[in-house]
């Protein structure tokens, strides 16, 4: 199997892979916390955060082989979320830097 055949299979099953990674990482986290029900939200957070991995790998692969961009399932939503992440990031980082340096800013309050 060549890398392109593997990529074809991967891109065809990108959405099930995202779901599976999210669910599995949430379950693994819940097992690691010994089924502590008070930490369910932490496990959900971890599951959600890890479900970005398959799409992230696909984006990195697309940077080398742009012809695969059209093979990303529901690419409009993927680009929406990727764009929003890039838009959110500077504001969130600015808040953290302001907090760290002790600068008073309306955004911090």
């Amino acid at each position: 199997m060549t890398i392109f055949e593997a990529a074809d299979i991967y891109f065809a099953n990108l959405q099930p892979a995202s779901t599976l990674v999210g669910v599995l990482s949430g379950i693994v986290c819940f097992i690691r916390y010994k089924f502590d029900s008070s930490r369910v939200f932490e496990c959900l957070v971890r599951g959600f955060a890890f479900s970005t991995l398959p799409n992230g790998l696909a984006f990195v692969f697309c940077s080398a082989y742009p012809e695969y961009i059209s093979k990303i399932s529901d690419s409009s939503a993927a680009f929406l979320l990727g764009g929003l992440a890039l838009i959110f990031m500077p504001f969130a980082v600015t808040r953290v830097v302001n907090k760290f340096l002790g600068h008073s800013s309306p955004a911090v309050d």
């Binding site: 892979a17 999210g22 959600f48 479900s51 409009s76 939503a77 929003l84 959110f88 969130a92 808040r95």
Partner: protein, 130 residues
Amino acid sequence: MTACAYFEAAEYESYCSDDNYAAVGFFSYLDNTETSVVVGVDTEEILVMYTSYMHRIAVDKRRKIMKGYLHYDLMDVPVMIGAGFFFNSISGVSWSLVSEAAAPVGLGLAAAVAGLVIGAIVSVKARESR
């Protein structure tokens, strides 16, 4: 309404509010109203003052809760984006189980936006539970 009934009601309210500063605020009013009752101020008027005071506190509390949900931190961003991808992929998988046709773009976008909101709420809940 008699002063006695008013104080009973007020006391009941303050204990039920489960809000210390509200109770403190109320009792500072109570000090004044006690003097006022002695000089003959209408207790209905005092009750209206007390109700509006409690209403203002309730509005401030709701504003604080909304501010807590709308405020986002650096930690919330990956959770929101991840939840967006997660719900988007769940909607795609669910659609593929129901229909052979390609999933509509609107469904994926709506699921992604819903995921962003759910991610923000879950992240706030996780932060509160620590």
